[in-house]
Symmetry: C2
Subunit: 343 residues, 2 copies
Amino acid sequence: MTIYDIAKAAGVSPSTVSRVINNKKGINEETRRRVQQLLEENNYIRNDTARGLSMQSTKIIGILLEDIRSSHHTESVYVIEQEMTRRGYTCIILSTGRTSEQKRNCVQILEQRRVDGAIFIGSVFETEEMAVLLRTHLSNIPIVIANGYLDLPNVYGVVVDEEKGVEDCVEYLASLGYQLPAFVKSEDTPSGQHKEDGFIKGVEKLGISPKEAIIYSSLCEEANPGLILERGSQITEQLVKEHPEVDSIVYLVDLLAIGGLMKLEELGIKVPQQIGVLGIDNTLYGRICKPALTTLNNKLVETSKNASRILLDALEKNETSHKFMLFTDIVERDSTRKKEGIL
Amino acid sequence: MTIYDIAKAAGVSPSTVSRVINNKKGINEETRRRVQQLLEENNYIRNDTARGLSMQSTKIIGILLEDIRSSHHTESVYVIEQEMTRRGYTCIILSTGRTSEQKRNCVQILEQRRVDGAIFIGSVFETEEMAVLLRTHLSNIPIVIANGYLDLPNVYGVVVDEEKGVEDCVEYLASLGYQLPAFVKSEDTPSGQHKEDGFIKGVEKLGISPKEAIIYSSLCEEANPGLILERGSQITEQLVKEHPEVDSIVYLVDLLAIGGLMKLEELGIKVPQQIGVLGIDNTLYGRICKPALTTLNNKLVETSKNASRILLDALEKNETSHKFMLFTDIVERDSTRKKEGIL
DNA sequence: TTGTAGGCGTTATCAT
DNA sequence: ATGATAACGCCTACAA
C-alpha cells in the first residue's frame, strides 16, 4: 500500500496524497477528506525508509554506551528513549563494549544508518581517539556526550563535577570522624580519573600526601553486574589485609561497594563502626543492601535528560551552549554514620 | 559520497561499484582493486536507508517491552541486541508502557520503519487484543514472543513453565516446614496468572482450598524499580497485619519481595525463622539484599536468547518450531531455610 | 488547488 | 566483465 495506490483509488495524484498525509495546507477540503478516508480504509502506513531517503533525514538517533546492563545507564537510556520517541525520533541503542574497535564498529553502524544525531553515554567517549573518530566520521550531525565533553563544533557535552563530588565525600567522611579513607577504582576512564583526583584532593586536606593515598584498582573484564559484585569482594579482602588501618572506603561504583560490604561482613568487620563505606552512582542496589549504602548521587539520569533536550535543540537548529555542568549530592545512609553510634 | 561519485572517479558505472561493495563475483580483479581503493580513500559509507528501500528489507528488527528498567528485562534486551548486531541487524528498542494505546503506537512505529522482524518481551503481549493487532498490522514479518505465545502463522513463542515453577516453590516451602504460604501478585498479566495458578495448585496439596488461599495484590502505576520496592513494603505490612498466621510469602517479583524483607525487618519479624520469603526472576537484587533472597529462576535471559535465535532462523527461512518451552529452577538462599535453624 | 517530473542512493535485470 | 535502466516509495519544486 503506497501513496500511488491511494492516489489511484482516490483519482488524484500521488503528490496530493502526500500533501494530505503531511497535513500541508492549500488542499480542497473535499479531496482531503476523500483521501483521508481511503488512507484509513486501507490502513496505509507511511514508509519511513522511503521518506528518510527522500528527505535526507531519517529521524533516527543513535545512542551509544558501553553496556546497557550497568544499572545507572539503563535508566538513562530509558529517559532518552522516551523523550526522543515522544518527539518523533526513533532510537538505535548500541552497547558498544569496551574496545575501541567495537566502538568504531558501532559508529559505523550509525553512519550507515544515517542517523540524524547521537548521544554517547559515559565519559569513556571523552577521549582523543574518539575525537579523531568523530571528526572523520560523524562531523555533520549533532552529538551530545552525557558525562563528557569534546571540543568539536558539532559536539555538545553535559558533564558532572565528579571530582568535586568525591572530594566532598572525603570531607563528609572526615566530618564523621573517618580519618584514613581508601579508594577503590576500576577501569581507567576519564570519569574514574576525575574521581580519583577528587579523592586525592580530599585526603590531602586530611594531611595525607598524594603518594600516601591508598588507592586500589579492581579491574573487571566485563560490565556484567554479578562480576562487578565479586570483584568488589575480592579487592576489599586484599585491601583490608594489606591496610588494616584503613577506616573507610570509597568505591568507584555502588556494586563494587556492595561487594565490599559483603566481604566485610564475612570478615566480621562492622560497617559503619569499624569501616565506613561509600559508593558512587546512587543506584537502587544501594537502597537494598545492608547496611544501606551511602552513595554519591552523580545525577546521571538528569545528565541524560539534559542530553536529550540539548540534542533536540541542536536538531531543530535552536541555539544551545556546547557545555553544561551539573553537581553532585551525597545520599546519606547507614554504611557511614559513625557519629550515631549504634546502628 | 555515493556510488555515483565513486563510479565517476573510477571511470566505471555505478553498478560496478555496487558489485564491488557487495562482493559479487564476476568482476575484473583489476577494476575491483581500483574501486576498492577509491572507496577507502574517500571513506565511502553505504547508505542503509537507500539500500533498505531498494532491497525491500531494512535489516532492522524491533524489540518491544513494557519497560526496560525492569532489571530482568534489561539483560534480555542486552543479549538480543548483541546477537542481532552480530548478525548484521540493527535493533530498535521501545519501552512501550502499560496501556494498549501506547503499545499500538509502538507497533505503528515498527510498521513505519518496515522492520524485518520483531521480538516482544513479556507475557503482556500474549493477549487477544495483541493477536488482533498483529493480524491486522504485522502479519507479514516473523515475530517472536519471549515468555508468551500467540497462535498466528507468523508468530513464534518461547514460554516458561512458571505455573509449575511456583507450584514447586510452594512444595519447596512445605519441605522446609512452612505450612501456610501467602502470595503477593501485582498487575494482571498472563505470566502473573500462571504464577497464581501455580500457587493455588501448590497450596491445595497442603490442604488449603483455592478460596482459602491467601493472595494479595500490589498494584504499581509504573514499572519504576524504586516504586515497586515501596509497594512491596506496603503490601507486606497489610498482609502480616491481617494474616499474622502466615508463615511464608511468595512474591511475584524479586523487588516486591525485597520491599517485603525491609518491612518485615522493620516490624521485627525474623526471616526465615518466622516468615520465609521467596521472590521470582532471579535478579541481582536478590543476591544483594539481606537475608539473601531465595528466588525462582524463570530463565528469562535464556528465553530471550532463544527468541533471538528463533527470529534469525525465521528471517533466514530456516524451519523452526513455533513454540518452545523452558523450565524453572529454584535458587536457594537465606530468606528460606527454616531447617538450618540459626542463620 | 492539483499534477508532472526529478531526485534521494541503492540493487537488480537485461543487454552488450 | 560491465553498463544502461528501471524500480523501491516518498517529497518537493515547478508548472498548470
